[in-house]
Symmetry: C2
Subunit: 147 residues, 2 copies
DNA sequence: CCTCTTATTGAAAAAAACTTTCAATATGAT
DNA sequence: ATCATATTGAAAGTTTTTTTCAATAAGAGG
């Protein structure tokens, strides 16, 4: 595994002027290593294996920070409205309802819909949240398992 | 205003076998009369003007119920992840970032995007959450006000 | 490397959000 | 009008999130 201080996400933190502290790097690493939306408590538990002194407060603070920097985003799936996942460039999540794995997808082809809504409502549309859910290939094959 | 027991939403409740109690009708009416995402506490405050004995517990219970029946949906906008709005037939919300007014819009034209994501990922997609945000016509004209 | 400034941290306490429990009540069927 | 019971709200309990603040560690500059 690469040096946690040299990952692209760490670079963004550094360039924004934030210190690369152990607790922050632990949260970052947890998000990067888990392809799933994780709630603060889970991030806290996993993070402590990387940085035993990590506090839950810092998890909350770091999630806020990563969210501001666009390095992580909230996942809103029906029963996990308080999860976060690391964010690459696409910023749209596709969530497996069985194993809760989360992947990003590029959001192309929304323009016509947005324009149609703009015309019908008069709203100027500046942002959108699009989240898809379903079954990942693994869970389609092995309906009972989870990962 | 129409008899609260005769609104289309009330009918759905009745037909599903639930009693049309004053507290429930109050929550329902608050959601119908406010074109905005409202959090439980606000619904509670507004609801008490219609049904003074209303308890916050009942607000939570009623929101769950309305959600199950499809009569209300959660609104996930960035800073109000715990708001609810009444739901008609479209189930997709367009939120004004200034006055927080919420309207529904029909979501057509997503099929190509969904198919493309399915092909690229192998996920079977069974649901989607699409929420738009921007400025309503009023707030475009009067940038500072709110409603 | 050291030194120093200060951003960042975690424990603890506080606040907010939500749920459970249960006796009292209102609803709607009869 | 009567009655069975679904529903209610107060209170207590639990969980989640935020605030506070003294101690610490990052990293800039020497
Ligand atoms: Mn997009
Ligand atoms: Mn949400
Ligand atoms: Zn899966
Ligand atoms: Zn507006």
């Amino acid at each position: 595994m690469p040096d946690p201080k040299q990952t692209p996400m760490a670079q963004v933190l550094r360039e924004a002027g934030y210190k690369l502290t152990q607790p922050r790097l632990a949260v970052l690493q947890v998000l990067e290593e888990n392809a799933a939306g994780l709630n603060p408590e889970t991030i806290y538990a996993l993070g402590r294996t990387l940085c035993p002194s990590l506090g839950l407060v810092t998890v909350y603070r770091t999630l806020d920070l990563l969210n501001e920097l666009g390095l992580a985003r909230r996942v809103h799936s029906e029963h996990h409205c308080h999860s976060y996942a690391s964010a690459g460039s696409d910023h749209h999540y596709l969530i497996c309802e069985s194993c809760h794995r989360v992947i990003e997808f590029p959001c192309h082809g929304l323009e016509a819909l947005l324009e149609s809504v703009r015309m019908q409502t008069g709203y100027v549309i500046s942002a959108h949240l699009l989240e898809l859910s379903g079954l990942c290939p693994d869970c389609q094959e092995h309906p009972a398992e989870s990962a």
